[in-house]
Subunit: 265 residues, 3 copies
């Protein structure tokens, strides 16, 4: 059965997501399986959306269609795109939202959505998720050739604000917190690969955040007593800072953008 | 495939929604597609629920069944109804919740749900969503004739607290904020139709909220620089007040009930 | 159609739930109906998860598979189990999470999930929901014999922190608040059965919480005027304390753990 996923910054307190679901179900010839990924991306936070999609979408079965609407430029000249990356399909604003999925999934086809034939006939200026993206998604589900949606484009816009971690080549890797999860765990932009490149034994490196120095990496939360501040490699392969059974975000009063340095002496 | 939607004020921190889904899936002969519209309607806020349903439900395919439970009068004498409005079907308390869908969708059949044969055999006094509405919804999905649910009734209860906007016939339209979305946009009860009736050129009218006067209407958020206070017609055809890339609710310290006046000099 | 439900403490602001859905959909041969029960269980709160599952899961159709991930001990030696309780199937950490469902549904088969053949080949130390539970759930949906997952075990771990209500045999039952719902209703651990055992007429007993004494039980919220503090039997058969059309939690400044005593003079 065809699967279409939804990722937005709309919340569900307003009817925006419900309206998109209604349009999708109305226009798909065969009832698709609609899977909510998240509607709790922070408002207009393209960076958070890009990271979310980068982590989640590659896990889906081939031919899944992902609609993603974090779209601060709605109604302006920013493009709306249909993209085939690896075996996955995407529809959303071309504002950097697909920067990270495009790193792990090879772009095969990118189309600028311009052919109004596939849009809702009555359209607002402020809700292209409902008026353009949902009906075009239905067209994809109905097996319309995506090249009918508009002209091919060469490449997706990249999110330039994505902070890369830095390796100074002197047994030191610097990065920052890029996400805080519901447990208060601090996820950084330092991939395990960067640690392996830089250190003979990353597991004994020191991790500094604010004025705290964490000696060595733990394997999992349960390796240390409740309340311990630990560093570990998270389920996405990135350095994470956590407090066992408590919230590191709260204890350290740290959030996105907080600097993290890994070094050996 | 048959589609049934759920709209409640239960949140998902308690098991109420999950229990309703269990009953629905247990009693439907064919597994329906259950679509969550929202469980974040503010507690017992019939007005907010009515507006949500009015915006979302007309978007769904014909024969969709919408269950809506915002039911402060649960266990009292308020009626529970099954209603066919336009091509959509509804089940919920008859407390004004369907006031706004009934404006855009013509009522065809309204039945007072009284026949206990279709209810759960063991019933609580406080959770009719699970004990009455979900099993009756399953009966609808199982193609029971709705006239078996109870006697026909002539009309739905209307929500008398819905604030109508006022046209004073002197180039002035007054209304108020009726919803704040996740972006902090302020949605008013002033429809674009009222503006078109009153002004030759609504796009150059002044919009006043608190002590702020906004000169003219923008087309979309991106038409003005970040941080600008703007007024525009929202995706539901109502006057909306927004701050580009920020939250108007926060900046103006304004919420539901805040007065808004549109006028020309 | 096969149904699989998800209950977690992940929230949907992070991509953890989305990743589990992706793995499930990728590995199930037939697209299952995935039903979100809750992702808003308080972080690492096994007790709240146990109560949620105990209330929700018995409502589902036979053969439903429930995946529950509230797993503070992830990566440590705590077992992951597959359990058939009554006609329902469960996968989750064996940390007490299934204590309450196991009270109402008779355990038929409990298997310790140890056979790595059914897990994702690349696994993290911190996300067994995605790497072990989701793929084993897919194996269940694909009709693998659960005895292949690992050795049978005799019994599930019980949550020892579950507070039982006390009957002192002198016309008095003591308990405490175990859940606060979205309306601010205070749900206690005092089952209606304990009241019926202890009192000739529970409906006229006094209920004490903090310094308030509530005289007698109401049938439903609408039985008393707005703002009244009432006690009633909730939809789960437990004593509940509520304020009509308002929040008892807020008015009494009471939450989980607050003592409640029922007595007659």
């Amino acid at each position: 059965m065809p699967v279409v996923t939804l990722t937005t910054d709309f919340g569900t307190g307003s009817s925006y997501v419900a309206q998109m679901k209604g349009v999708l179900l109305s226009l798909c010839r065969e009832t698709p399986t609609i899977v909510d990924l998240s509607h709790e991306i922070p408002p207009q936070d393209v960076f958070a959306g890009a990271m979310f999609l980068g982590d989640a979408c590659p896990r889906f079965p081939p031919k899944t269609l992902h609609i993603a609407v974090i779209d601060p430029g709605v109604g302006t000249s920013r493009r709306i795109v249909y993209a085939e990356l690896g075996e996955q399909k995407f529809i959303g604003p071309d504002n950097g939202l697909f920067s990270l999925v495009a790193k792990s999934l090879v772009p095969k086809l990118i189309v600028s959505i311009e052919n109004e034939k596939f849009w809702l006939p009555e359209r607002s200026q402020t809700f292209h998720g409902r008026d353009i993206m949902a009906p075009v998604a239905a067209a994809v589900m109905n097996k319309v050739d995506p090249r009918e949606f508009g002209p091919r484009v060469e490449r997706l816009e990249l999110n330039r604000s994505w902070p890369e971690c830095e390796t100074k080549g002197c047994y030191q890797v610097s990065g920052e917190v890029v996400h805080v999860d519901s447990f208060g765990n601090l996820i950084t932009n330092i991939p395990v690969g960067a640690l392996l490149d830089e250190f003979d034994q990353p597991s004994v490196a020191d991790v500094q955040i604010r004025s705290e120095i964490i000696r060595g990496l733990s394997k999992t939360y349960g390796d240390a007593p409740s309340g311990s501040l630990i560093a570990l490699i998270d389920s996405g392969g990135r350095l994470e800072i956590a407090v066992v059974n408590e919230s590191a975000a709260e204890l350290l009063q740290a959030g996105r953008g907080e600097k993290v340095v890994v070094r050996t002496e």
